[in-house]
Amino acid sequence: MREKFIEFRNVSFRYGDNEPWVLKNVSFDIYKDEWVAIIGHNGSGKSTIAKLMNGLLYPQEGEIIINGLPVNDKHVWEIRKFVGMVFQNPDNQFVGTTVQDDVAFGMENRGVPREEMILRIEEVLKAVRMEEYRLTEPHRLSGGQKQRAAIAGVLAIKPEVLILDEATAMLDPRGRKEIMQTVAEIQQQSEISLITITHDLQEVVKAERVIVMNNGKVWDEAKPREIFAKKDELRKIGLDVPFVAVLADELIQNGIMIKNEPLDHDEILEELWTLHSKM
């Protein structure tokens, strides 16, 4: 059994006393070194969860415990040392005038000595494949490159958990692919918990576990394959079902027996070309 890293215990949150509840009695655990995707339509409370994990917001009810510390005013700076976060808008989280300055920002805040900063910048820029852009200004970078720089900046502080709060939402398909690839590599290479928050089902494929949010409540919590199988219900709560899943459904309806719910193009191809050999 893996160690619990983040615990949400009956958490409720609203933005003001007369506002509706954004999160209602939410409980879940996230373990060390795990990749969890949190998915939900707009306004389902998924981004609020991200902000609660970093102490940018505090819940009105319930408790959040990260690495053994409750999230409150006393521990918030301690917690931010091991919770790294990448936001949606690539431009509005880029603080430095060059990539290297931006990557250094988090380390400067924590008082990392300069010699070590230089080493770590080198290291993390390699991890996100941005070595050549060390001295480039933000307005000469694409959205995907800016997000990769943001990921590098977070990795530089050696966090134990990396939260991507819709980090791909404002990117074109190519940038989106770049980010998902980078993130998957990082997850494999280092012992880091990864939480990706998204409304795009396509992005949950590689996660180990998916938490589906609907109207401020945990609607379901399962493996991606199990989630994909519930197409009709997903549609009902406003999520787009990926093409592969729809195709698999149609095939089954037309009498082609697909046993495993396919997650991507390769898997469905595998199913199809081995179809006859199985019989």
Binding site: K81, N92, T97, Q100, D101, F105, G106, N109, V154
Partner: protein, 266 residues
């Protein structure tokens, strides 16, 4: 995307002047600006002029480029010269144009003042031409550092400056985008009476301000998430270092100034 945006008028290069510590450059320029007013004869002026011209030559920035950059100032320089020609009445009368007498003292005085003016502008523009805005920001932070004792927010000021510098190109791109979006809806920025054109700026400024505020809010949140707690206990990646080179250059400068003072009494 517009990639041709240059902040300020910095010309990239790797000359001696480019590599100098920005604090050293600011100090030298500051002193130069003061000492220009001490020059009082042909020799002392020519020492300062040679210093300025040699420095300019070292930067390897084409002289024509610098002169072009000074175009708006030429008018002032010539105006100063003419004013002196008319007002000063010293020395002997050189010539007489339509009953208007030009004195020798006026000619010398006008020339000296214009030269002084030209030197001031040339040398100060070299600072922005050879130093990136972020280097200037760092230098200012460092120079103002002693003011921290009287609770002057030096770090905050420098951070604000560097963030504004970082967002100038972003906001320019955004302005461009909004003006195209509004033009496609029929807003006319270029023709018509001035009053209409000023009015046309409103639908440009309002979305720009709204988005700038939104950016500021998100940026503040991102900075907080990344552990920003103000200047206390912060380390810095960009480092300013006075090297031997800087000291040599400063010594050369002191020699020039000494030479200028020596020739004052000739």
């Amino acid at each position: 995307m517009n990639n041709a945006i240059i902040i300020g008028q910095y010309v990239p290069g790797n000359s001696l002047v480019h590599r100098l510590d920005p604090r050293m450059k600011i100090t030298i320029i500051f002193l130069f600006v003061i000492f220009v007013f001490f020059a009082n004869n042909v020799l002392s002026y020519s020492i300062l002029t040679s210093f300025a011209i040699i420095t300019t030559a070292i930067t390897k920035i084409p002289f024509r480029f610098i002169l072009k950059g000074l175009t708006p100032v030429w008018f002032l320089i010539i105006f100063t010269f003419l004013l002196h020609l008319i007002v000063t009445k010293e020395g002997i009368i050189l010539f007489d144009i339509l009953g208007f007498k030009v004195y020798s003292g006026a000619l010398i005085q006008g020339f000296a003042i214009s030269l002084r003016f030209f030197l001031l502008i040339l040398i100060t523009s070299l600072l922005t031409l050879t130093t990136t805005p972020i280097e200037i920001t760092d230098a200012i932070e460092d120079i103002l550092h002693p003011l921290k004792k009287i609770k002057f927010p030096v770090h905050e000021l420098a951070l604000m400056m560097s963030i504004s510098l970082r967002f100038i190109p972003t906001l320019l791109q955004e302005t461009d985008k909004i003006s195209k979006a509004q033009a496609s809806r029929g807003v006319d920025f270029r023709t018509g009476p001035i009053r209409d054109r000023i009015k046309a700026v409103v639908p440009l400024l309002v979305p720009l301000f709204v988005s700038a505020f939104k950016r500021a809010e998100e940026l503040a949140m991102a900075m907080e998430a990344r552990g920003y707690q103000g200047g206390e206990g912060r380390t810095k990646l960009r480092e300013l270092k006075i090297r031997k080179l800087d000291i040599y250059v400063f010594l050369v400068f002191l020699l020039v100034i000494a030479g200028m003072f020596y020739t004052r009494n000739y």
